[in-house]
Amino acid sequence: MDSFSSPSPGSSQQMSAQELKNKLQSQLALEYAQQFLETVRGKCFEKCITKPGSSLSGSESSCISRCVDRYIEATGIISKTLFGGSQH
């Protein structure tokens, strides 16, 4: 079902506007998260999986974990430098 074409019956105009905002915001949050995942996956795959073996080794998976933490930290540093805030 198309989530944008199903007003709940009897809701006030105020409520539908709020519902629309919530839907748009959760769509956007999902989109930002997907883009972030894609970027971090690319960066950390490059850094941590240098010679792909028959399975993911313990050191590779801990590298990925650290890499994700550092990428999030880097995003915070860049955000703070550019805009003085701490969002990402």
Partner: protein, 78 residues
Amino acid sequence: MDLSELNTPEMQRFYSEEQQKAVVTEMVAKVTNECWDKCISGTPGNKFSSGEASCLSNCAQRFVETNMLIWKKLQSMQ
């Protein structure tokens, strides 16, 4: 949904706020992507070295300056 609800002043304000947030988010993502490659060599550790952290910060500032310089140059070429 009544389509006129999509176009109220309140919704217009909401759209431009979200637009603004999207621009900021995209810029942070772009600069982080570039500066990560320039500043983080080797495998990531448990914390950034002070060199890495200051490189990231410098990199972001230089990115903005580079953007301005190129913008000015292109304007002067018109």
